[in-house]
């Protein structure tokens, strides 16, 4: 019996290409429908409950991974993607395969062969494991900038030009190297969690960019005075509760 399949890709040409290539395998795969975005795909899958989907990872609305997470019914998945990162190797499990664009007929042939050997039993379990894995492998996007609202404008401030953050009762002030100071609604706590490792919380009210620290002067009582490399040579006294932070990040 042929696998009932749905092709999901935002690009018509890409869908057509898969359809065309699959014409050689009509006895194995029967294309029952196609979708041009994640939401549409979700509805079709829940409706038709196909055996197999060809899924593009990057799509408007819902992307491939988000779609799988949302699905209650899990078919066999074959990813199609233009990415050629090593991480994709991990996709080659028993229930999942991937095709790199431009899709080659020979590679598709391998996939079809593999498909015929597939056991459908522990399918769901496998996919869940895969999703966890994919989550880990997903390249952690490095945060590079912070946007602040000034009137109706939004300004992007690159993290690399931020010298330090200073909190008062209400707001957090962003002190940049050359472009002055800005206010942000984000709390120091949020920032501390999200910012890359070169931002170090040194005090209740301060997070400093390690790259702008010129000096650390040890004071009595285990405190440090941190001298920043900005025009004012700002001096920040570290808080005793953040001593561990300092020692860790500055190799003291």
């Amino acid at each position: 019996m042929a696998f009932k399949s749905i092709i999901i890709d935002d690009e018509a040409h890409a869908r057509n290409r898969i359809k065309r290539l699959l014409l050689n395998y009509t006895d194995v795969i029967e294309v029952i429908s196609e979708a041009s975005n994640g939401l549409e795909a979700f509805e079709l899958i829940e409706l038709h409950k196909p055996d197999l989907i060809f899924l593009d990872i990057q799509m408007p609305g819902l992307d491939g991974f988000e779609l799988i997470k949302k699905l209650k019914f899990l078919p066999i998945i074959i990813f199609t993607t233009a990415f050629d990162q090593f991480a994709l190797k991990a996709f080659e499990t028993n229930t999942i395969d991937y095709l790199v664009k431009p899709i080659e007929a020979e590679r598709l042939d391998l996939t079809i062969q593999k498909l015929q050997r597939l056991k459908k039993d522990d399918q769901a379990e496998n996919i869940r494991n895969f999703l966890q894995l994919a989550e880990k492998l997903k390249p952690q996007k490095e945060l590079t900038s912070l946007s602040v609202k000034i009137g109706d404008k939004i300004l992007l401030i690159r993290l690399s030009e931020i010298v330090f953050f200073e909190a008062d009762e209400k707001y957090v002030t962003i002190h940049t190297y050359e472009r002055g100071n800005y206010l942000t609604d984000l709390s120091l706590k949020t920032l501390e969690e999200k910012l890359p490792a070169n931002f170090v919380r040194v005090q209740r009210a301060f997070i400093v960019n390690k790259n702008y620290v010129v000096e650390l002067n040890k004071q009595f009582g285990g405190k440090y005075i941190i001298v920043m490399n900005n025009k004012d040579c700002t001096r920040i006294v570290s808080g005793s509760t953040y001593k561990e932070n300092l020692i860790r990040y500055f190799d003291l």
């Binding site: 935002d10 690009e11 018509a12 040409h13 890409a14 057509n16 290409r17 065309r20 041009s36 975005n37 939401l39 549409e40 990057q58 799509m59 408007p60 609305g61 233009a82 990415f83 050629d84 790199v100 664009k101 431009p102 899709i103 996007k141 490095e142 945060l143 590079t144 900038s145 912070l146 946007s147 602040v148 609202k149 109706d152 404008k153 939004i154 300004l155 992007l156 690159r158 050359e178 609604d185 984000l186 920032l191 999200k194 910012l195 010129v214 000096e215 002067n217 005075i225 001298v227 490399n229 025009k231 004012d232 040579c233 001096r235």
Partner: protein, 574 residues
């Protein structure tokens, strides 16, 4: 002359000023630019030391003060005791009901001492010639009837080591300190006579004085933008000149502060003679220049660190000693002796030398560490800039290429003409991006072509999902802008705007030339820009590129709402 109830206090203040004069400018000269904490700390410690010392001294004096008439009073005087080392002598007077008892206390190192005490009528009351007396011994006690002191300015006091003094002028009492004494003795106004307040120093007052001295100093010594040194550096470019101006400024500032505090506390009785100020200036400038020479001219090499420090120590001491000698000749000897004794010279030289050593050692280590770190960073940066430049020139996503090729692989089965068109567009686009030998700048015309090629390929892929429109006038076509600046803006609008909008999207590019700036706007109808922490957003490459080719003359703004757009403004040069 600055003789007061507690001359030691005044002297101590002047000593402090000398020390500060040395230490302040010298240390701010070479210390690490951003390193002032240590210096301030050391100055504070030394200051406190001096202040405590001065306080203790003046406290003992204060205990000897004269609230009541029948207690001892000090009478200080100045005088040239010929070539002797006789320094300070003190006459203590006890006022009784009907007589005044004067006790002469000997403060000299010499053990021979001769004194004449002459009452108004001219007879010598007592003549002492005493061998083997010790410091602070009571030499003699005079009992004088009060009536004998009708006119004090006729009293002369004569001291001599072994011979009679040549003139009386040197030995006239110039000061009597206690107003009550004046009253009792019935002294009337006299041109030689000055009255000093008996001024016990309370700890609170000491703190106030300390603040008067310390706060401006500490503020001054910073290297912040508003400190005096950076102000001077702004105006004078020659390093050595700057240094000397700093030293002089600093000396004057310190002197003013000290004079002010003397004035406030009532210790400043008369203005100090001009040569005292000159003397202080000389003391500041001369050894400071020695150190400057050693550290900046003769032994620039940081490797000779210890030699340099050693020379510092020696030269400062020698320099101070020379000044001591010169000033002994040049200025009023009394002043020279009191401000700067030989012991003090040596003490100061060694102290300053050591402080300098500690300071230099710390900065030396810091500099070595920093240098190593900086080297590493600059090496990395250079590599990064070089590779960045290459990468920045042509940052068309490979993802885009594969997708386009995938489309071509399909399209060729259906529409040969479209396939040809797409392959040609793709090759043109990549020709722009791969050609690296050309300029870093592109005329806008080329940039617009890159963008339209890019968009035509994307449109072929995305079909009806993508519409776009350009809006610019002919005149801007030849303006040069950094290569591949527009494309990432458009790519960004597709990736974060259109591609997230399942209903398809619209992109508009407008380029307007204002007076002397160029405004590039890319509109899209996708979801709003997030106001939050963001990753990449495709703009990093534009920032990096503009930082290199358009430093500080550009700005990027985002606008949300109906007219959602990203605006790039290039300033100047149009």
């Amino acid at each position: 002359m600055f003789v007061g109830k507690e001359p030691e206090f005044v002297i101590f203040l002047l000593q402090v000023s000398i020390f500060v004069n040395y230490f302040g400018p010298i240390s701010s000269m070479l210390g690490l630019q951003k390193k002032t904490k240590m210096k301030k700390l050391i100055v504070l410690i030394v200051f406190s030391f001096f202040l405590l010392n001065g306080y203790n001294q003046s406290k003992t004096k204060a205990n000897d003060s004269l609230p009541a008439t029948n207690q001892p009073i000090d009478i200080g005087f100045e005088g040239n005791f010929t070539a002797s080392d006789l320094q300070i002598n003190r006459l203590t007077a006890i006022l009784d009901k009907d007589q005044v008892v004067f006790t002469l206390t000997y403060h000299s190192q010499k053990d021979r001492f001769l004194a004449f005490f002459t009452p108004p009528d001219g007879d010598i009351l007592k003549y002492i010639n005493w061998n083997g007396i010790k410091k602070n011994d009571t030499i003699a006690t005079f009992h004088l009837a009060k009536n004998d002191f009708q006119s004090v300015d006729n009293i002369t006091m004569r001291f001599s080591t072994n011979k009679k003094p040549e003139s009386d002028r040197n030995f006239i009492f110039l000061e009597i300190y206690e107003p009550t004494v004046k009253k009792i003795l019935g002294i009337s106004g006299n041109k030689h006579m000055i009255f000093a307040k008996n001024f016990p120093l309370s700890p609170i007052l000491m703190i106030i004085i300390a603040f008067c001295l310390l706060v401006p100093l500490v503020l001054f010594m910073g290297n912040k933008a508003n400190s005096y040194s950076s102000f001077i550096e702004k105006w004078i470019k020659n390093k050595w000149l700057t240094f000397n101006v700093k030293v002089v400024f600093f000396s004057i500032a310190i002197m003013l502060i000290i004079l002010l505090s003397l004035f406030i506390t009532g210790h400043l009785l008369k203005p100090l003679p001009v040569n005292v100020y000159l003397y202080l200036l000389l003391i500041s400038v001369f050894p400071a220049n020695l150190v400057y020479l050693i550290e900046n001219v003769f032994f620039k090499n940081r490797k000779m660190f210890w030699l340099r420090q050693y020379l510092n120590l020696v030269f400062i001491t020698i320099g101070l000693y020379i000044i001591y000698k010169v000033c002994n000749e040049m200025t009023d000897k009394m002043i020279a002796r009191e401000i700067i004794s030989l012991e003090y010279v040596i003490f100061c030289g060694i102290l300053v030398g050591f402080v300098r050593l500690i300071n230099n050692y710390i900065s030396y280590q810091k500099i070595v560490l920093l240098k190593e770190k900086e080297l590493e960073i600059s090496r990395l940066n250079e590599l990064k800039v070089r590779s960045d430049l290459n990468a920045l020139q042509s940052k068309i996503n490979p993802h885009f290429l594969y997708n386009a090729l995938n489309s071509i692989a399909e399209l060729c089965w259906k529409d040969a003409r479209k396939t040809e068109q797409m392959a040609l567009s793709l090759s043109k686009l990549f020709r722009y991006s791969i050609n690296k030998e050309e300029n870093d700048f592109n005329p806008l015309k080329n940039e617009i072509e890159i963008v339209s090629l890019y968009l035509s390929i994307e449109k072929e892929r995305l079909g009806d999902n993508l519409n776009y429109q350009f809006d610019y006038s002919k005149e801007i076509e030849n303006i040069l802008i950094p290569k591949f600046t527009l494309q990432p803006l458009i790519e960004n609008a597709i990736k974060h705007g259109i591609a997230k909008n399942p209903n398809g999207g619209h992109i508009k590019l407008t380029i307007t030339k204002m007076k002397n700036q160029l405004e590039i706007k890319v509109y899209d109808n996708g979801p709003d820009f997030p106001v939050n922490l963001m990753s990449g957003y495709g703009l990093q490459s534009i920032y990096d590129k503009l930082d290199i080719f358009y430093p500080k003359r550009y700005s990027i703004e985002l606008h949300n709402g109906i007219e959602k757009n990203i605006t790039l403004i290039l300033k100047d040069g149009f």
